[in-house]
């Protein structure tokens, strides 16, 4: 395909970006584990994306492109912060016994706390593949690594959650849990 600067056959990413913001917010929440930190991160991502749109190849995967900007922003912020703050927080919350409640759901706050304990590369892999519905390939593209790496990181993350939350075999509810199915049915497309 040749580059025609004025072509309009693809949606302008400046218009399309809105459709990806809900998923970006969800991903940011998964990475940061908190709501306001997540929204700050999304704002920064939007600003960066806007200044880099000239580098974006129209017709390629905008979602993966945006998610990559968000994760890189998060990682560089985190690197800076880790020099200042040590991470003892979260551990206690996650260590609290986590039992599925009466209708079989895990306590989401504990799951959130447990996610924070995972190494960031495992966390992001599991969020993308497990929660956001990314294919292994798209997640690999987003994180700049091989598909096999994403797969094993996501699996290691699930195993770690099982250990942290003491989800022994048989302790989990039936996966056909009605309320979960209802929530899932109501989830927006493309999430």
């Amino acid at each position: 395909m040749s580059d025609t600067p004025e072509n309009q056959q693809f949606t302008d990413p400046r218009d399309e970006i809105v459709t990806h913001l809900p998923a970006l917010r969800a991903f940011a929440r998964g990475l940061t584990g908190d709501v306001s930190g997540a929204d700050d991160l999304v704002q920064e991502t939007v600003l960066k994306a806007w200044s880099k749109f000239s580098q974006y190849n129209e017709g390629t995967n905008l979602r993966a492109w945006l998610f990559t900007i968000l994760r890189n922003t998060y990682l560089s912020k985190r690197r800076k912060q880790s020099r200042e703050v040590s991470d003892g927080e979260g551990v206690f919350a996650a260590r609290m016994a986590s039992k599925p409640d009466h209708d079989g759901r895990l306590a989401l706050q504990e799951l959130n706390a447990a996610m924070k304990l995972l190494p960031v590369e495992q966390r992001e892999a599991l969020i993308l593949v497990g929660a956001m519905g990314f294919s292994i390939e798209e997640a690999a593209q987003t994180c700049g690594c091989a598909p096999g790496t994403i797969k094993s990181r996501a699996n290691r993350a699930r195993k770690a959650l099982v250990e942290i939350l003491h989800l022994e075999k048989g302790e989990l509810p039936d996966s056909t849990d009605k309320s979960v199915a209802m929530v899932m049915a109501g989830a927006p497309n493309g999430f």
């Binding site: 799951l111 497990g130 929660a131 989830a187 927006p188």
Partner: protein, 62 residues
């Protein structure tokens, strides 16, 4: 505990597909709020401002 070390012998054993499905479903629930909520005003304001800036730039070029 050696949660993160991955050194323990039995660690290579995969978790049951039902368990991993359950984890994924709970993660979806955990983040579904963010995906279904209306966008915060700060964010839509930011987009408006950026668009306006672009429009002004374009107008200036003409």
């Amino acid at each position: 505990m050696s949660i993160m070390s991955g050194k323990r012998n039995g660690n290579r054993k995969d978790i049951a597909p039902a368990v991993s499905k359950q984890i994924d479903e709970n993660l979806k629930r955990l983040y579904s709020d963010a995906a279904s909520e209306e966008l915060p005003k700060s964010l839509t304001d930011l987009l408006d401002a950026l668009r306006q800036q672009d429009a002004q730039k374009k107008a200036g070029e003409k």
